[in-house]
């Protein structure tokens, strides 16, 4: 699609639904899992059978509060569940238990900071229950799978008017948010499985005007890329419509991944009246300061703060820091090693190169491997002190990864310590020069580049243990001597 003619400003609100990684559902004890035979994880409560009653899942409530704290929200010390009433086959009770109101949701009025420093306002973080899933049956009919019905669902909604103004920010916001959710262990973040769902609403207005334009809501986005492309498409589609004198409709649009375009799903003529009211089957949630402060003080340091600290205190580059912050386990592993008086840069280098490579090949996480933070500290020290060179370092690491032996022990056992004594090195240099008289002639004839070959031969004689700088220096001295 063409870039717009007139200049427009876009406003993008983000509504994110995250299925919580609890063991059981929101109001019953049915297990939470993905997939499986339809209607095998159901009970009278999540099927909404007459007479059944909900009992709230404390784990879910705590997860939402922890997320709200991570998103700098205020916490509602008195918070109630509401019923959102509407009819749909995937909704077993004819209402969804949710949370309504400006200051009633568990978390409200917070913000998330993007890597570029921009703050995206968060309006609410609330807790609700997921619905079932409509399925088309092979015989042409339709069925409903209620395995997902009642799974705890957290809804995170950005401020209005929205702070996000382009597709890049929309994607960055989602990347950042997902990282926090996964970091806190409250959601597995699998967009492709639908455990993290994003529905942006997009409007544009001519530059210099205040009134927000007519918005469209985008559904079926199941990757970061589709969020970015979808928002971009909507901005351009709306601009093209306005440029050609058309009017925009308030509508819900679906994203078609295969042809990378959106299509109209339904027009919103009037706002639905959901007849929210406090659910009389659930008593209000009341929290006290010690409880909230306890959760606050138990909060882990979040990725963005860690990245800034790694750069400031350890002198790491942004890119290296981010590689360590791929997941919480890797970051914690790194910090443990640093805490053992290891060299941060050296440990970082090991982690993002050899260690990452071996883990990837073995399909393991750091803690699942034979390597402990202490291994990394020893190896980094051996390298930093030139006790071994980097080539030997790789060999030592491979052995440690395989057997779990400590690097110091491997080096001692195999006699891998670097040789810094001039005596043996000079002896080898002389021997190499003697057997390569022709090459030496070429050097002296001005082809100085061949020195590298001679250095390599000397290193070979030293079985890789000679100090490479020293070898280089001594080869050159020997060549220049006569």
């Amino acid at each position: 699609m063409q870039a717009p003619m007139a200049n427009y400003v876009a406003s993008i609100g983000m509504e994110v639904h995250a299925e919580l990684a609890t063991r059981s559902k929101m109001f019953c004890r049915c297990p939470v899992a993905f997939g499986g035979e339809p209607n095998t994880r159901v009970c009278p409560v999540c099927l909404g059978l007459p007479g059944s009653l909900p009992v709230p899942n404390r784990e879910a409530i705590e997860m939402v509060i922890r997320t709200a704290l991570a998103l700098n929200c205020k916490i509602a010390m008195h918070s109630v569940f509401h019923r959102k009433n509407y009819f749909y086959p995937d909704l077993p009770k004819g209402y969804q238990v949710s949370q309504y109101g400006e200051t009633n949701p568990l978390g409200y009025h917070g913000w998330l900071e993007l890597a570029n420093g921009k703050r995206i306002g968060i309006r609410r973080v609330h807790l609700e229950e997921d619905t079932g899933k409509l399925m088309h049956l092979p015989n042409g009919g339709a069925g409903v799978d209620y395995n997902r019905a009642g799974v705890p669902l957290m809804e995170i909604v950005t401020d209005f008017p929205p702070d996000i103004t382009n597709e890049e920010e929309a994607k960055d916001y989602l990347v950042e948010l997902r990282q926090i959710l996964v970091w806190l262990g409250v959601c597995d973040g699998k967009m492709e499985e639908g455990s993290l769902r994003c529905e942006p609403n997009i409007s544009i207005r001519p530059e210099g005007t205040e009134m927000l334009g007519t918005k469209s809501e985008l559904k079926n986005l199941n990757s970061f890329r589709s969020v970015q492309l979808g928002v971009q498409f909507e901005i351009r589609r709306q601009a093209a419509t306005l440029d050609s004198g058309g009017t925009l409709l308030q509508e819900t649009r679906g994203w078609n991944e295969s042809n990378e375009s959106s299509y109209a799903m339904r027009i919103k003529e009037t706002e639905n009246d959901y007849r929210y009211f406090p659910d009389p089957d659930l008593i209000p949630m009341v929290f006290d300061d010690p409880y909230i402060e306890g959760l606050r003080s138990a909060m882990p340091e979040l990725p963005l703060a860690k990245s800034q600290r790694y750069q400031r205190d350890f002198g790491l580059s942004t890119k290296d820091a981010e590689r360590l912050l791929q997941d919480r386990e890797t970051a914690e592993f790194f910090e443990e090693a640093v805490a053992m008086k290891g060299d941060p840069k050296g440990i970082c280098n090991l982690m993002i190169s050899e260690f990452a490579k071996q883990l990837n090949e073995a399909g393991l996480s750091p803690r699942q491997s034979n390597i402990s933070p202490a291994h990394l500290v020893q190896l980094a020290n051996l390298l930093a002190s030139d006790t071994i060179n980097s080539k030997v370092g790789k060999e030592v690491f491979a052995e440690a990864f395989k057997s779990g032996a400590m690097p110091d022990a491997i080096v001692d056992e195999r006699g891998l310590r670097q040789i810094d004594d001039h005596g043996p090195i000079v002896e080898s240099v002389k021997a190499v020069l003697a057997t390569n008289a022709e090459v030496v002639e070429r050097y002296r004839g001005g082809q100085t580049g061949v020195a590298g070959f001679l250095v390599g031969q000397v290193m070979k004689m030293g079985q890789g243990r000679f100090n490479p700088q020293l070898v280089q220096q001594l080869v050159r001295e020997e060549l220049e001597r006569t």
Binding site: L49, G51, P54, N85, F87, P280
Partner: protein, 477 residues
Amino acid sequence: MTAADLARAYARRELSVREGVQSSLDRINEFDGQVGAFLKLAEDVGDQADRAQAMLDAGEGTPLTGVPVALKDNLSTRGLRTTCASKILSDYVPPFDATVVAKLKEQGAIILGKTNLDEFAMGTSTENSAYQLTHNPWDLARSPGGSSGGSAASVAAGFTPLSLGSDTGGSIRQPASLCGIVGFKPTYGRVSRYGLVAFGSSLDQIGPFGFNVEDTALMAEAISGHDPRDSTSLRHAPIDASSVRNGSLKGLRVAVPKEFFGDSMHAGLRAVVEQALDTMRKEGAILEEVSLPSIQYCVTTYYIIAPAEASSNLARFDGIRYGPRAEGSGHISVVERTRAEGFGHEVKARIMIGTYALSAGYYDAYYLRAQQVRGLMVQEFKSVFDKYDVVVGPTSPVPAFKIGELKNDPMALKLLDFCTIPANMLGCPAISINAGLTDGLPVGLHFMAPPLADERVLQVAYATEQALGATMRAPFP
């Protein structure tokens, strides 16, 4: 025979459980054609009786072991059809027992069958059942009251010594009053609602009917106690039936709200109630007239809160997962037709009232305002309970009315509920006992006590019952 008599007979081996149960069944088979209390009888009564007998023989009996009980048909019974007297649940067989039902089974009570009610417990005459009429055993031309009319009639007719009902705005106490028996609504949260098909969730309470207070208290003890499946269930011990006999009227501080004795009160019924109050005074109770002006708003308030909650509670009956499903093109059409065919007139009316009261733009004026009035009522009663032990009055301003008499005047019927509704608004315990007869029809006396004072209200009811003399059996047949 009362439940206590039956238990004694079992203990003395004068009667086997099968014999005790059979005499109930014989009476039902002979007379329920005229009364219409039961919608369905259980098919496994013989097995239940054998299990109860085994419990008794092993010395593991409880006061209710082998005692036949009837259950209002809005209580879920595993494997036993539960219709709520509605066509929309005509074929619904629950896969689980309500907590109260599970408790009764554990204690060896015999679940004899399911009783008639106003559809989804909406009504005060049991005339709103989609299936049948229930007749008052004192006068078969008259209504047993409602909505738990079937359960009240079962005890009054001597079919079962005990039964269970549910009370959202008087649905246990009013039929108890009209049928001359005892009906008790415990404190909200003291009996689990799990398995009770919801009407007005913040008002609903399961409670027992009995021939006398002692029996009623036994049943209350059997079904009460904390239930982790019900978030609104209170962490409190079961109601203590053994304390019931400890009650005395001497020095009891009794408030008599003048609003309960209004112009709508039937003259003969008023005389019986006044006489009962005199008896209480003679026994040493200190009665004082008080005024609780909020009582005049209770019916209006109730008819906003209960329908609002009902409109949401009944949304699940869409024909998708259970119950009959009407044909239609598309989901909305199927749901509309299923509900149009499945619900009766009164249920539809209340769903519409409730939907309206919760609608955007009306919520503040109706539902929110009603909740505020409810809060005011709680405060007003609290100040009375600070000074008095119990509040007394008639249960209903009129004795049993003729079937069909008020059918075309639903408003008049609703206005009769002002004596019983406050207890649901407050969530407090309340009981109706028989105070005597007017023109051959029973008159109920109604006691309320503050929340959690269930034992007190039972004790006062017991002492008053003793002071008034022997309880009366319906002249049936």
